[in-house]
């Protein structure tokens, strides 16, 4: 008790110092509390975000064929089989939480008859007709529909214009007027005002056998077997058209449409975990189905699953037994998901589900933080045709600035800890080391170590406990203010313009930052501070107890006698300064080394920061951004409608370095080479172009699979080369990209087509062109050839926008791509796109033109570098301040340790200003030389001494000198007598 009482008395009897250190500790407690608090709040928020946001990666296969959602892709199946091990490795990588393969089936819902236009085969029909006549001009029969086996609309008694697949002009008498036939085929858009029907053989599966039903059978020739075939065909089409697509899932909210909130629930909910676990018979249906069947959440439907090998709708459909499912959710209609049914995967465990159709292969649910690593790994498979698209719902956009804040709070905390260590060292020095006489006396009087420890601890407790408590309370009171600042700071980071950005597509929701900090944090921060105080106190008191008072005094070894000459050359005021530098090599070398290291340290930091900035500038300088008009999903690049005025608006914006538009010119059928490359005219038959509409439409249909042609304003920037650069490109001698546009009949052809048709570079080839439902013969001179890794078969022809007919000018373009060389105009480009009438992808408001700037990689790179620069700037500035503080303290200590010398000088009558000049010069020489050497070394290594480095070094120099000067002024104003009276 006596020790505690005395310890407290000691603290109370030096009220100035006690108050000062109490205030310092209070301030430190506040700072530590707030740093802890910010760190904790941000960390909690990041954890919440980790739960709130789900990152999924959509895996698709994009082969040569245009991706078809439900078709069996043989190439894809073989690629999957060949690279199954890579896919399995990806599925089982550490970053993946789960992989959900897209497993399609058809769902038959009892009582559902679909009337929407999104059904499988809306134009198919099987019915009896009565032939009324034959139209010479159109080459078609006029017939009335008698009896219907299957047709979506009730055509009974209506007139149709009909052709058959096997018909041609010479076979016009194949149908007899006034007779009844059973026919199958499709309605089609015709040039006439009648409902046009194209009778063609249709196939369905019976067992494992494909049964093809002829397009037309006379009623009298209709056998019971044949009639049964027609009835089965009609039933097959009806089933396909009335069923819905079924998606089984182990986590509905990870499916891209729900994940990206393209589908939102208008009623009910998504599945609960127990429903997945218990294989509950529950489903989510579209509101189209709900409307057709008058369903609400909680109602039940009878659902059967139909599966087929290969194409989802093709082949024989195998139907499972109907089971009762409860509708738990109804989603809002979306044209891309018109009539889907979602069920938990376990509930369809027995149903045979087919995965190998469509191009969607599945969805990886990936750990939010590991997405980059996963994508790097996944990108290795892209060479096989797999594509991976990540959707993080905005996780990175929201979390990254917060991570930066967390890092800053850690840096701040580290600085607070460093300051605490400094303050505690000083406090212990003043309250403990300076009381070593008291400790010695206590030891001499028989006090034990515990007693002395308690004595110092009680003084420290008196100082620190109130300080810690007040600090924690003040910290708690300041919490809201800090959080306000924090939110504003976070908002500043989040204020990124991501309009039209390809990285924007994933941002679907934002978790509001609602900081919550447990009061325990404050208690913990206070406790840590107190612990540090007590630890320091114990360490210092141990040091005092081990001091020379209780140790056997060690005699100091005499300084080695060495040859020293008194200075003969130096005189004047600086003499003492120079001698002091020369004759105290340890101090001199230490200070020189320290200043040299500081100089090098500053140089390294500024150099690395400059390096980051240079890299960032280089990235910005060398980046060419590309963008394109696209569809709602941002996937399509061709087959769009981009009007001339949109193109003009973008051109006028004067932002872009290039705009390329193209027009899809339909398909080309090779007819022969009219003039060879060496100028020889070939005698080739004239292209056989039909003249009747029937013949034209037939040929149009046949030419659908011929190579396509696009007219483009740029070869290199055409859509053909947008996603993959040509692996090989050759121009005819004397030709290049510019000369390509000299004549409208030049073309660039894929090499595989030239090889197939025997066309050489320089040949003029004759083609039949199917364009806009019309056929014509054209001659094109092949002036260039190309080869791409994806095997594109598109022929490129020049599109001269200056010389277009008014018709074409109004028609618009099928694609629009653009390039931006100057990335500083990134924002201006967004404005220009908006002004031109484009909307960002996956936004349904505004006009239905979508555009995307493929800047995800660029933004990711630059943001990552900017983030790094921000971290480094915060970190480096903190280090600069820390170095400044260290410089200040060291300079002070160096001067104050010379107090006795100064006193002796004063006793000998040296004027105060002379003393100041001597010691100031010494410090200036030492620090200046050290810093200068550092800069010299940097220069010798060929590094530039930039203005920032110069400024930092000068600031450090100034801090050092100011500290020395203040300490000198304090020392020379102190009474010499007092200094001399102090014990040695």
């Amino acid at each position: 008790m006596t020790a505690i009482k005395n310890g407290m008395k000691t603290a109370l009897r030096t009220p100035g110092k006690t108050l000062l250190f109490s205030l310092i500790l209070t301030a430190l407690a506040v700072l530590i509390c707030l740093s802890f608090c910010v760190f904790s709040a941000v960390r909690n928020y990041i954890r919440d975000c980790d739960e709130y946001y789900h990152t999924v990666v959509d895996m698709e296969f994009i082969g040569k064929e245009y991706p078809e959602g439900y078709a069996y892709d043989e190439t894809m199946a073989s690629v999957i089989q060949e690279h199954q091990s890579e896919i399995d490795a990806l599925r089982h990588s550490d970053a993946v939480i789960r992989f959900e393969p897209v497993t399609h089936a058809l769902a038959g819902i009892e009582g559902l008859k679909r009337s929407d236009r999104f059904v499988y085969d809306p134009d198919a029909a099987v019915f009896y007709i009565y032939v009324l006549g034959y139209d010479e001009n159109s080459g078609s029969f006029l017939a009335s529909v008698n009896d219907v086996l299957y047709c979506r609309e009730d055509f009974r008694g209506k007139l149709i214009m009909m052709r058959t697949a096997s018909m041609n002009i010479d076979e016009r008498q194949s149908l007899d007027l006034g007779e009844t036939y059973l026919i199958c085929g499709h309605f089609f858009q015709s040039l006439t005002s009648y409902s046009a029907f194209f009778a063609e053989p249709l196939t369905y599966l019976r067992g494992n056998d494909a049964v093809t039903v002829p397009e037309c059978v006379h009623r009298d020739e209709l056998t019971p077997e044949l009639l049964s075939d027609y009835e089965e065909l009609a039933e097959s089409i009806r089933v396909c058209n009335d069923c819905c697509t079924l998606q089984v899932t182990a986590s509905a909210d990870d499916l891209v449409p729900f994940h990206q909130q393209e589908l939102t629930l208008s009623e009910g909910r998504l599945f609960e975990q127990r429903e997945y676990d218990e294989a509950a018979k529950v489903c989510i249906v579209s509101n189209r189905i709900a409307y057709a069947l008058d369903l609400s959440a909680g109602d039940r439907i009878m659902l059967s699953m139909l599966t087929a090998e290969g194409n989802l709708f093709g082949g024989k459909l195998e139907r499972s037994a109907s089971e009762q499912y409860t509708v738990v959710g109804i989603y809002n209609r979306n044209d891309n998901y018109p009539a889907c049914v979602f069920i938990p995967d376990a509930s369809a465990a027995d149903a045979p589900l087919i995965a190998s159709n469509g191009f969607w292969l599945g969805v990886f649910r990936v750990k939010n933080a590991d997405i980059t690593e996963f994508l790097i790994e996944a990108s290795k498979s892209e060479q096989y045709g797999f594509r991976f698209t990540a959707y993080d719902q905005g996780y990175s956009t929201v979390v990254e600035p917060m991570s930066e804040l967390m890092l800053i709070s850690i840096i701040f905390l580290a600085i607070c800890v460093a300051l605490t260590v400094g303050a505690l060292s000083l406090q212990c020095h003043i309250f403990i080391t300076r009381q070593r006489e008291a400790a010695r006396t206590m030891i001499a009087m028989g006090s034990g170590r515990a007693h002395i420890g308690l004595y110092f601890l009680s003084a420290a407790a008196l100082l620190s406990i109130p300080a810690a408590i007040v600090g924690c309370i003040v910290g708690k009171l300041m919490e809201n203010t800090v959080f306000d600042i924090l939110e504003r700071f976070a908002a500043q980071f989040a204020e990124q313009d991501l309009r039209f950005s390809s990285s924007r597509v994933t941002l679907v929701r934002t978790l509001t930052f609602t900081p919550r900090v447990s009061p325990v944090i404050y208690i913990a921060a206070g406790a840590v501070l107190l612990l540090a105080v007590f630890l320091f106190t114990l360490l210092f008191s141990q040091g005092v107890m081990k001091d020379r008072a209780v140790r056997k005094k060690r005699s100091r070894a005499p300084r080695t006698l060495k040859r020293v000459r008194s200075s003969t050359k130096l005189s004047g005021k600086l003499k003492y300064a120079v001698l002091s530098i020369r004759r105290n090599p340890v101090r001199t070398v230490a200070v020189l080394l320290l200043c040299l290291l500081v100089s090098l340290f500053f140089a390294r930091l500024t150099l690395s920061l400059d390096g980051y900035r240079t890299q960032l500038d280089a990235v910005r300088e060398n980046t060419v951004l590309k963008g394109r008009a696209t569809d709602y999903f941002g996937k399509q690049i061709n087959g769009l409608v981009v009007y001339r005025r949109t193109y003009d608006s973008l051109s006028e914006s004067d932002v872009l370095s290039g705009i390329t538009v193209s027009r899809d010119m339909g398909h080309l059928r090779f007819s022969g080479v009219s003039v060879t490359a060496d100028g020889e005219v070939q005698d080739i038959p004239a292209p056989n172009i039909p003249t009747t509409s029937f013949g034209i439409e037939t040929m149009l249909g046949q030419m659908y699979f011929e190579p396509g042609m696009i007219m483009t304003t740029s070869v290199r920037n055409s859509t053909v080369f947008y996603f993959s650069e040509p692996t090989h490109m050759v121009w005819l001698d004397g030709f290049n990209e510019e000369r390509f546009f000299d004549e409208p009949d030049y073309c660039v052809m894929p090499e595989q087509l030239m090889a197939r048709d025997g066309i050489s570079l320089g040949d003029t080839a004759v083609f039949i062109l199917s364009y806009d439902n019309w056929l014509s013969a054209i001659e094109l001179k092949v002036v260039g050839s190309y080869l791409t890794s994806t095997g594109d078969e598109t022929i490129l022809a020049p599109l001269d926008l200056q010389d277009e007919s008014p018709y074409l000018q109004n028609k618009g373009f099928d694609s629009l791509t653009f390039t931006l060389d100057d990335v500083s105009k990134h924002d201006a480009l967004r404005d220009a796109l908006e002004k031109a009438g484009f909307s960002p992808v996956r936004t349904s408001d505004g006009p239905r033109y979508y555009a995307v700037i493929d800047d995800e990689m660029y933004l990711e790179t630059t943001h990552s570098m900017e983030r790094q620069i921000k971290y480094v700037t915060v970190l480096y500035n903190s280090l600069y301040v820390l170095a400044g503080i260290i410089g200040f303290v060291l300079a002070w200590l160096l001067v104050s340790s010379r107090g006795k010398e100064i006193a002796v000088m004063r006793a000998l009558g040296t004027r105060p200003f002379e003393i100041v000049a001597i010691f100031f010069a010494e410090q200036m020489l030492l620090c200046g030389a050290g810093l200068g050497f550092g800069l010299l070394i940097e220069k010798l290594f060929g590094h530039t001494i930039g203005p920032q480095l110069k400024m930092l070094v000068l600031l450090f120099f100034a801090v050092w000198l100011v500290s020395s000067l203040i300490c000198l002024l304090v020392s020379v104003t102190k009474q010499a007598y007092a200094a001399l009276a102090e014990p040695e």
Binding site: S566, L570, S571, E901, L980
Partner: protein, 223 residues
């Protein structure tokens, strides 16, 4: 004629808590060519009196006259530099200067050129009985007695006729102490210095020409 007159000097140490009057009206005179010893118990005020006379402190009341001029009206830096030389118990040599440089330092302060100062310093060091190899040694290469002799050489280098010594033998063994005292006596008697020594040592007091005994801040005896 007295070179230094102490007239009714009062001095107080003032702190936040108390004011201690350590000198309570001390008066005495000091003449050149004499060796004075100021003796007394600890706290009697003898060291304070020495600091006042050496110009390190100024009296609260009364005057100290140097050649008839009050020290309070003098430039104390100049007084210390030119007139009042002090030898301390713990030598107080500048650690980074050699013995020669330490002795030359006060001369250089007074504007004596380096070469001349060194020459005179060498002579003074020899005069205090130190060999030449001491000239170029740093203080911590010297024994206590040698350091004190260097300190005396530094003191007499000031061409002052006033030499104060505060317990000059306090840190020395008897033999070295005797050498130092003999040196100081020689300076007083042969060179005409007014040497004022503050000491506890009665043996030194016995050798002094005049002993001033102090008690509780007052001069109680002078003989």
């Amino acid at each position: 004629m007295a070179v230094l007159n102490v007239c009714d000097v009062v001095f107080r140490y003032e702190s936040k808590y108390q004011t201690t009057e350590v000198l309570k009206g001390v008066s005495c005179d000091f003449e050149e060519g004499r060796f004075y010893a100021i003796v007394g118990k600890s706290g009697s005020g003898k060291s304070t009196l020495l600091s006042l006379m050496a110009g390190l402190l100024l009296p609260a009341e009364g005057q100290i006259l140097y050649n008839g001029t009050p020290t309070s009206s003098l430039d104390l830096n100049r007084y210390r530099r030119e007139n009042a030389a002090v030898v301390y118990q713990s030598f107080r040599l500048l650690p980074l200067l050699t013995a020669e440089e330490n002795v030359a330092y006060p001369m250089e302060l007074r504007g004596v050129r380096g070469k001349e100062a060194r020459k005179r310093a060498d002579a003074l060091i020899r005069k205090v009985g130190l060999p030449d190899d001491v000239l170029h040694r740093f203080p911590d290469m010297l024994s206590g007695g040698e350091q004190q002799r260097v300190a005396i050489a530094r003191a007499i280098s000031m061409d002052s006729k006033l030499l104060f010594a505060d317990e000059p033998t306090g840190n020395l063994d008897t033999e070295s102490g005797n050498v130092i005292i003999d040196l100081l006596l020689s300076l007083a008697h042969n060179d005409g210095y007014c040497v004022i020594v503050v000491t506890h040592d009665l043996e030194i007091a016995a050798k002094a020409d005049c002993v001033l005994r102090m008690r509780d801040g007052m001069l109680v005896e002078e003989n």
